[in-house]
């Protein structure tokens, strides 16, 4: 199905000067972690990073050397322990290992996180033995810790596509609200929204008035385009968007 070009317009130019100074936003970041304790002659390097949900430990091993992803009766398998900061482990460590339980080459180990309080600091230990076919080196325990510097500044506008029933007063009010919170909204309607427009934004906010306010109106939310972008689907039309994308079922709501 071919759609007409979107009647999308940005409110940024009109409202930015007045509202950005009142912005409350702080963009999410991926804090860098320092890794200390690696012996100078160890046959691998380890780096680490995290976001709000995952700690990633990247091990880069020299050819012929391996770590153990699970206990196979050989060397000590990799263990990651959260020791400080505002996160706790929210699940098991995932290790990309082969059939024999060995981790080789460049591998990313991931640990699910859950935030326990405000902030972004994290401290952890990574313990393991590194071995080759003939020997295992003495156990190594690394200290992983948040770099003690402020988080990097936002690298650009946080683009949010607001998909609304129309471009009336309510829509303008919501767009102004988003702008005041440091977001950069672009407004379009359910009739005009396209995949390309959704994909060009970082998050799509699919708005909805209440049921009685949209009843009888021809708003085909079920034809919402496929998109690569995350979608916040709201209210009654949001349930139709979710159903059309097979996230939920029809009649699965009241």
């Amino acid at each position: 199905m071919t759609r007409s070009a979107p009647l999308a317009y940005s409110l940024a130019a009109a409202l930015a000067a007045a509202l950005l100074s009142a912005g409350l936003s702080a963009q999410s970041s991926s804090p860098t972690l320092t890794v200390k304790g690696m012996p100078a002659d160890a046959p691998l390097t380890v780096t680490a990073s995290h976001d709000s949900s995952t700690l990633r430990i990247t091990a880069d091993l020299k050819a012929g050397w391996h770590l153990y992803g699970r206990d196979v009766g050989g060397g000590q398998p990799v263990a990651v322990t959260i020791t400080g900061g505002v996160f706790a482990a929210a699940g098991e460590l995932t290790t990309p290992m082969d059939k024999q339980g060995l981790i080789t080459g460049k591998a990313v180990l991931t640990l699910p996180l859950r935030r326990t309080s405000e902030g972004d600091t994290l401290a952890a230990t990574v313990a393991f033995m590194v071995c080759d076919a003939l020997q295992c080196l003495p156990p190594i325990e690394l200290e992983v810790r948040t770099v003690a510097t402020s988080a990097p500044a936002p690298s650009g506008p946080f683009r949010v596509l607001l998909v609304a029933v129309d471009d009336g007063e309510r829509t303008q009010r919501i767009a102004a609200f988003l702008l005041a919170r440091g977001l950069t909204p672009t407004v379009t309607t359910y009739a005009l929204v396209t995949s390309e427009l959704c994909d060009a934004n970082e998050v799509v906010l699919a708005d909805s008035p209440t049921f009685n306010q949209v009843r009888g109106k021809k708003i085909n939310a079920r034809a919402f385009p496929k998109t690569q972008s995350p979608v916040v689907a709201t209210g009654f039309l949001g349930t139709q968007v979710l159903e059309a994308n097979k996230v939920t079922m029809a009649c699965g709501y009241i």
Binding site: T94, F177, L205, Q213, V232, A233, T234, K246, M249
Partner: protein
């Protein structure tokens, strides 16, 4: 639902970052239909009171907000599904007003700042920030209700004496061969039948499981029942695999049919070597009813793998 919510997962990022959100709450006696009920957000039930908070300043006038109803097991068995708040609903527990699956977030309230309370405004902004990182998140497609639907019929009878679920809906949601085994349509009869058969019911595999009125019809898996292998359990999968590698027998044939029936075709071994396949896939698998009763790749693991690349 109205303008309120409860059961908020307050340790989740949407209530913490970038804005730390505090909702003033009102301690409220449980509703009648909360008695004995549990949900993801109330694993031990509501208790003596539950805390109601306002997302909107007042209730929609002569109107209502929708919630996603999950107490019937519709879609929340997907690993990684996030139940983050329930709506204040006439329905029993499990009516979600804030929830996420993959890259889709449901916000059950207004987005109009004129209507939203201050903490709800801050939460909405947090939700947008939270979803920013979800572009690579894996969404799995809903295909059918889960077999929990039958438990709901028992619960509804316990709560209110409602019999229609047991006497009418349940028989109409079974294929004829399975219906023939469900003969006692009393509450005690339904409970006894489900106690024996519910872990072996499945749907979503073909036109025989479609029903115009009830959408899905369930079938009793006599292979799994004979083997004593509830289809959703990891030991059952491993039993099927062990039998598949064993000498020819009727049980081996049953196990092979179970593997074909429940291991998603996208990941089945092309060479028939189930043992090697399992060694490779063991840590990547999850059983999901609502996608069609499949052992399939766990979407959480796929996300982690994508993030690691």
């Amino acid at each position: 639902m109205d303008h309120q919510g409860h059961g908020l997962a307050l340790d989740h990022a949407i209530f913490r970052t970038p804005n730390a959100v505090t909702f003033p709450g009102v301690e409220t006696p449980p509703q009648q239909n909360h008695a004995g009920a549990k949900s993801v957000l109330y694993p031990n039930g509501v208790g003596a009171t539950f805390t109601l908070v306002a997302f909107e300043k007042d209730a929609p006038k002569d109107d209502w907000n929708p919630t996603l109803v999950n107490h019937e097991g519709f879609f929340t068995d997907v690993p990684g599904f996030e139940s983050l708040a329930e709506g204040h609903s006439a329905k029993c527990l499990g009516s979600l007003s804030l929830a996420r699956q993959g890259k889709w977030f449901y916000w059950g309230y207004s987005t109009d700042p004129e209507r939203l309370t201050d903490p709800a405004q801050a939460t909405l902004v947090n939700v947008i920030h939270y979803m920013r990182d979800k572009r690579a998140a894996r969404t799995v497609e809903f295909a059918n209700v889960t077999r929990q639907i039958f438990t709901v019929y028992l619960d509804l009878h316990k709560e209110s004496g409602y019999l229609r679920g047991i006497e009418e809906h349940m028989p109409n949601q079974l294929v004829p061969e399975t219906l023939a085994t469900y003969t006692d349509h009393t509450p005690a009869g339904a409970a006894a039948w489900l106690a024996k058969h519910q872990p072996y019911l499945f749907t979503g595999k073909g036109p025989q499981h479609k029903s115009e009125r009830y959408k899905q019809r369930f079938e009793l898996d006599n292979d799994a029942l004979t083997l004593g292998t509830p289809t959703h359990l990891r030991p059952s999968l491993e039993r099927w695999l062990a039998l598949a590698a064993a000498a020819p027998s009727e049980d081996r044939e049953r196990a092979l049919r179970c593997l074909q029936r429940y291991v998603h075709p996208e990941i089945t071994p092309t060479n028939g070597d189930w043992s090697a396949w399992y060694l490779q896939q063991k840590d990547r698998l999850a059983f999901i009813e609502s996608t069609g009763f499949w052992w399939q790749l766990d979407p959480r693991g796929l996300e982690r793998e994508a993030a690691g690349k």
